[in-house]
């Protein structure tokens, strides 16, 4: 009897940990610290890089620099995802991988041609109306507008457009390729480049008989159903308005 009782007391401390932690042989405090570091990295980095997706390997490194346990990084990132949702109301959204390039064309930069690493963006989970009314920072509105216009142009061109043609359309709206002192955007070319960094667009060089041409394709974030639906709605609204104007003129 006494022996049996003693046996009950001789248990591994990990038995008292939640199932998810016991497999890693790591305390809750240590896990919390890692989760906290990952969340802080995501918030600061996403903010500092103006919404550029965060590479999974950057998050993994926070864990692996001090811990070797297999799958611990995955566990920590999943916990961070839960916390970001519960505390901040942000969804840590995983981006789909880039499509592999077909023959005769190469993605720019080269490192993008085989994007094995996952990446993440932060998306607000708030109801759209609440978000628009209380959260949207009005100083970012022009950039959002620019993004929508560019995505709409590329969408109407079939999801792929030569750089020259894109600038031709933007020029008609008063946005010149070489304008580095736009009162709203500053450097227009850089603003377009930001959309590539944010993975709304991707660059592609296509070799042809007259040399290579630079194309812009819709990238992961633009192909996300939630975004592409909004862009399509936006296009149809404009077309409806145009039709209405034509009818009035008739």
């Amino acid at each position: 009897m006494k022996l049996g009782f003693t046996k009950l007391l001789i248990v591994s401390p990990s038995q008292f940990l939640p199932d998810s932690l016991s497999q890693f042989d790591i305390s809750k405090e240590e896990t919390d610290k890692l989760v906290s570091e990952v969340i802080r990295f995501i918030l600061f980095k996403f903010h500092q890089s103006s919404g550029t997706p965060i590479k999974r390997e950057d998050l993994t490194q926070i864990v692996t620099k001090n811990y070797r346990q297999r799958n611990l990084a995955t566990h920590v990132i999943n916990e961070a995802k839960k916390k970001l949702s519960n505390v901040f109301g942000y969804d840590l959204k995983e981006l789909q991988r880039a499509r592999s390039s077909s023959t005769g064309q190469s993605r720019l930069p080269q490192s993008q041609s085989s994007v094995d690493s996952k990446s993440y963006v932060l998306v607000s989970e708030l109801p759209l109306e609440v978000f628009k009314k209380h959260v949207v920072d009005e100083t970012t509105s022009p950039v959002t507008g620019f993004t929508f216009v560019v995505l709409a142009i590329v969408q109407l061109a079939g999801g792929k457009i030569p750089e020259e043609t894109l600038w031709h359309h933007l020029k008609r709206m008063g946005l010149h390729e070489n304008d580095e002192h736009n009162p709203v955007f500053g450097n227009n070319k850089q603003t377009l480049e930001t959309l590539v960094q944010q993975r709304f667009l991707q660059k592609e060089k296509v070799s042809g008989p007259e040399g290579s041409t630079l194309f812009y394709d819709l990238a992961e974030r633009a192909l996300d159903p939630q975004v592409s639906e909004k862009v399509k709605d936006y296009i149809s609204q404009i077309l409806k308005n145009d039709v209405a104007v034509v009818e009035l003129n008739d």
Binding site: R40, V87, V121, Q226
Partner: protein
């Protein structure tokens, strides 16, 4: 894991995306999402902030309130309490820009007249070389080329950016003062740099009225002084015991101010003072002012916001 509601999330995201907000605006968001007036249901409002701070502490953030020392209005903001590798990612400012900013806040904070500002001319003439770490040995004290080449035009541009991002402000007289972000974020920096505190609220007296008695170190914020004079019969300075000059503030003005301020939260949203002091950490260690979550710069800045499709 206790989950906050979408109402809490709206308050947090508004402050993260838009930066510090005046009390009136923050209250209006609270009213919009809860349907209640925070002035009449102060307990509920405070409970919301307490719940938010309980969760934010997990990532060393805090929802704080503080007064803008230039207009006396209460502002709210989400601030970072720990300077670490992660928070160093939080700035879009370059090393010379940060050194320039540090030079400005030092000049403002060390002003013995507690005017809370310096002229634009003085700000633009701040020498970046003075910001090189004094601990560095003389052999290492080479002025970095980035500091040497930091032109007047770059200083002007940086000044505009710092004002736009609320790290600095322009006073009515077009002087340069501390912005609400600095007042929220640099509390412990003021303490560490021995900036005298206001006798009434114990916050740094960056812009304050000084006791006119020579040698008396007492300083009080104008809004604190108005409140104090409306509440106390004894108008003597607590430092030297001499009567506080009432010429600057009429009794009527003081009484009006007190009525307006009655409902306003005095300083921080939640924690009691002693606990608060213990919790405060230097969010701008190494003089970087890097640690604020919402420091921004650049024309096409995107803060932590919904992706372009405003996806649900």
């Amino acid at each position: 894991m206790a989950s906050l509601s979408w109402k809490h999330h709206t308050l947090i995201q508004a402050l993260i995306s838009r930066g510090p907000l005046k009390e009136k605006e923050f209250h209006s968001i609270f009213t919009a999402v809860t349907g209640r007036n925070p002035v009449t249901v102060k307990k509920i409002f405070d409970k919301y902030l307490l719940e938010i701070n309980k969760e934010l502490s997990y990532v060393h953030f805090e929802l704080k309130a503080c007064r803008d020392q230039y207009d006396g209005q209460v502002c709210y903001g989400v601030v970072n309490n720990v300077a670490d590798d992660q928070s160093k990612l939080g700035t879009k400012y370059s090393v010379p820009q940060i050194a320039f900013f540090k030079g400005i806040i030092e000049a403002i904070a060390q002003d013995e007249a507690a005017q809370g500002c310096i002229s634009s001319f003085d700000a633009l003439n701040i020498r970046l070389e003075n910001q090189i770490s004094s601990e560095a040995s003389s052999s290492q004290q080479q002025v970095p080329p980035a500091f040497k080449n930091f032109s007047m035009t770059q200083k002007e541009k940086t000044l505009d950016e710092l004002v736009r991002d609320k790290w600095l402000c322009r006073t009515r007289e077009r002087n340069i003062g501390l912005g609400i972000r600095s007042l929220l974020d640099l509390r412990s920096w003021f303490r560490n740099n021995d900036v005298p505190s206001c006798e009434v609220c114990n916050e740094a007296g960056v812009k304050a009225d000084l006791c006119p008695t020579e040698g008396c170190p007492v300083r009080i914020h104008k809004y604190c002084l108005k409140k104090l004079l409306s509440q106390r019969d004894d108008k003597r300075c607590s430092g030297c015991g001499k009567p506080w000059p009432l010429s600057k503030i009429t009794k009527t003005e003081a009484a009006e101010e007190a009525m307006n301020d009655e409902e306003e939260s005095e300083t921080q949203a939640t924690a009691p003072k002693a606990k608060r002091r213990r919790q405060q950490r230097d969010s701008t260690e190494n003089g970087s002012s890097q640690a604020s979550l919402a420091s921004t710069s650049g024309a096409n800045t995107r803060r932590v916001t919904r992706s372009v499709g405003h996806s649900r």
